[in-house]
């Protein structure tokens, strides 16, 4: 029984490492010697044995289901306590922070526990959400889009926030003033183009987006698209090549 457990351990460690950086599989992130040997061994086995391939597919499915489970919608809480409480509960469960209007920031402690006394704020709208590093995806965004008075949203370093999620943000166009997308690995300039609906936006942070092909040009185009907004991003000179006179 030791050998299959070792395989499972190897497989799960590789796949834990995989989906976090969705482009890491194609980019050259050089793993250390033993991990590289482990990967090569797994690849060889998966190419030659149907069972190993099925096992790896099963482990991948489990990863995907885990993210879906985290992003389920809390319909019971929404019906009983209203959309603000449901949205706040969702964010706190994911590990983010929530600020109700007139209250302080609330966050879960290191072990994922938080107090439930915000349940009495049924009529108080949620003003700000900080979901940095949370595993929010397209489905989970349902809970946030119900917060119609949201003014500040921070989705920094969220691994599953992509262009499709950004296309849904138009529902917050009436209130959103501050948005931060810094460090999201799946957001590209195509998703940023959908932000033109958010005409009330005053601060937008699009720095450090690895999937954007041309950060300097993108920042200029986004600034043109949202004239009243302060855009924090890459410097416009980044990516410019030096001319022949300047190179010497």
């Amino acid at each position: 029984m030791a050998a299959p457990r070792a395989f499972l351990h190897l497989a799960s460690s590789i796949w834990k490492w995989g989906p976090r950086d969705i482009r890491g599989l194609s980019r050259t992130v050089a793993p250390e010697g033993s991990q590289r040997k482990g990967r090569a061994l797994l690849q060889f086995l998966a190419d030659h044995f149907y069972d190993v391939e099925a096992l790896r597919e099963y482990l991948f499915r489990k990863q995907v289901l885990k993210v879906h489970q985290k992003n389920r919608s809390f319909t019971h809480i929404k019906e009983q306590y209203g959309p603000y409480i449901a949205g706040a509960y969702f964010v706190l469960k994911q590990g983010g922070a929530v600020k109700f209007q007139g209250q302080e920031w609330m966050q879960s402690n290191g072990r994922g526990r938080f107090s439930l006394d915000f349940f009495k704020f049924q009529a108080v709208p949620v003003e700000a959400v900080d979901a940095s590093g949370c595993a929010i995806n397209y489905q989970g965004l349902d809970n946030l889009l119900a917060l119609k008075e949201l003014q500040s949203l921070s989705l920094q370093r969220c691994p599953h926030v992509d262009d499709w999620c950004l296309s849904r943000l138009h529902q917050l166009a009436g209130s959103l003033q501050e948005l931060s997308l810094a460090g999201c690995p799946q957001v590209s300039e195509r998703g940023l183009a959908c932000l033109h609906h958010l005409q009330k936006l005053r601060r937008l942070d699009i720095s450090d987006l690895p999937a954007v092909s041309n950060p300097g040009l993108t920042r200029i185009l986004v600034e043109e698209m949202l004239p009243n907004c302060e855009v924090l991003g890459a410097d416009w000179a980044q990516g410019l090549k030096l001319g022949p006179e300047e190179q010497s």
Binding site: I22, L25, L42, A46, W164, H170, R190, A193
Partner: protein
Amino acid sequence: MLRRALRLGVGRCPLGRGLGTRRGGSTLDWDGKVSDIKKKIQSVLPGGAWNPLYDTSHLPPEHSDVVIVGGGVLGLSVAYWLKRLEKRRGAIQVLVVDRDYTYSQASTVLSVGGIRQQFSLPENIQLSLFSVDFLRNINEYLAVVDDPPLDLQFNPLGYLLLASEKGAAIMENNVKVQRQEGAKVCLMSPEQLRNKFPWINTEGVALASYGLENEGWFDPWCLLQGLRRKVQSMGVRFCHGEVTRFISSSDRMETASGEEVTLKRIHEVHVKMDRSLEYQPVECAIVINAAGAWSGQIAELAGIGKGPPGTLQGTKLPVEPRKRYVYLWHCPQGPGLETPFVTDTSGTYFRREGLGNNYLGGCSPTEDKVWPHLAQRVPAFESLKVRSAWAGYYDYNTFDQNGVVGPHPLVVNMYFATGFSGHGLQQAPAVGRAVAEMVLEGHFQTINLNPFLFSRFYLGEKVEERNII
């Protein structure tokens, strides 16, 4: 056995090289002989294609449960869903036959790549909604172990359809149907249009419908390669060849009302290899016609349409190739990053391409002059420079410009998945699933595509859509 293999290997060399093409004197070409022998031994061992007379590894298999004629996005989508919905792993053998593995004339890769839910038929809207769901979760549907995830390059910027006075009422009606089915579309007046998109000239525009979510454009080549890769990993065989003949048998049967009908069943498909007279008869149970612009020719091969006109035997498949042109131009003062896929009242359309002020566009249905309409709608396009252009075929359904899905009433084991006249790419995942359900279960399960069956051509029931791009 080794001696026999050696003898065959040695004896084969002059034949393989052709008479009189030996290079200089007595070069034995020992390496060539060794590789021949190795190939021979490998084919004898289990798992190889053993044929003592000649190498048949380029030919398709002799039996296959399902043969899909056409390896574009529709054919591959049907293959994917057949393998995905089969009851037991490995239950169905699927063979995809395509005569051009470079896809140089395939409609899929020459398409502009748009996807929208702004149709007037509820079935079309549902097909498009499911397809967009498929595209959004493409890395869950088409995940292959050890391969990098797919990047479809989807631009979720929406479609903007403009309507004149005459079309305004129809557009309002359409938007109502679309909203009922779950599409997120909003109506805009000319004033709202001017506020949102200041580069538009709203002269002649009475109403506009704008898709807010799940609409845009993507890279069709990426979808094709992703499907191909996944479908190969699921065990579908590919063959590079052309279908030249169907061998079928007929049965005379009587309907309930006493009429006589001749039902046909296809038993073999002859697949001819490229640039050669060699062909392989593939025994099959089901044939799927997903040949795109050439589906009409495939249907004729199966005998569809050979009969007195006005009867069911004489009803041809009304799908023919229609050439459409796409132009790429550069306009330095053109519309910015938020430009949606704009469709004008005259049928001209355009969309942004990349970040460098390049735009793709064309005109459909009629090939009028494109530039005057563009310049009239977007004054910035008065100064533009055409960079390049290409043309592709629509699998144009001359009857009602909507797809043909499902079995033929007389040729009982031929199923159609073609005729989508320009919106095949955006409906391909959903249509593939519908055809797979029809093949495996006998009826449509998730989306009811009964209005799109072949029998409507005989009965004369048109299922028409407006504003085909």
